[in-house]
Subunit: 112 residues, 2 copies
DNA sequence: GCAATTCGTTTCGCTTCCGTTTCAGTCCTT
DNA sequence: AAGGACTGAAACGGAAGCGAAACGAATTGC
């Protein structure tokens, strides 16, 4: 894959998302969402903040937003009640799955 | 390319952007930026709004933000002074170029 | 048992974004 | 020259984001 093809793919995927009225997530929010769904659990606020090199409030706020969209859910850790465990949801899994399919579809449409 | 690989690639690219402190553009803003740099000019507010299926103020505001970041520039169309022509900048071209290279790099790092 | 640490959230003032509506400037046709 | 059509920006109230700092609750260490 060459850079020009990569950029074109990225553009087509974003255009399809925007045109379809998908939630307008920021780069940070999308990174958090994909990390939750691709990296092995458990996921904590602190862990995500470290993985993305951002402050904890950034994670808290992103979880607020994506929680309202039902893309993720929060649960107190019963073993250490200071922790919050972030879990996947059915809706979120569906969203991520569709997103991945969309990338593949756009890749196939790409000119060689 | 399979969906799981596509998602992993997307995640790695976003993570590298976020960790490096790149501007936290939204999906819409990124789509606008890439469209300006990949589609042939001229680009107008109205044209971009139609291409992305969003309202004109969305484009105006995105141009405000990305203009402040020096990623794009605006110029009045001298032939039809109602139009504003959006042009690429050196900084924007560099940003997009690096972004494309980043995607290719992450693609190479991906497990087969 | 009590201070120190850790965790996630909340608060503060500020900026940016949203959709809708309104506006000023510029064509274009008559 | 006058009316309407069109373009992009500005105004509005509301929502959400930011970094930095402070917070309560839970755990750990001495």
């Amino acid at each position: 894959m060459r850079p020009s093809q990569a950029l074109r793919l990225w553009q087509q995927v974003l255009l399809s998302q925007v045109r379809d009225g998908a939630p307008d997530l920021t780069m940070r929010q999308t990174a958090i969402l994909l990390t939750i769904y691709l990296d092995p659990p458990p996921h904590t606020v602190r862990g995500l903040a470290a993985r993305l090199n951002v402050t904890k409030p950034v994670i808290t706020r992103a979880l607020d937003t994506m929680g309202a969209l039902k893309l993720v859910s929060r649960h107190r850790d019963e073993l250490d009640k200071r922790n919050v465990l972030i879990r996947r949801t059915v809706e979120g899994a569906l969203f991520v799955e569709r997103f991945g399919d969309g990338i593949v579809d756009r890749a196939h449409e790409l000119p060689i």
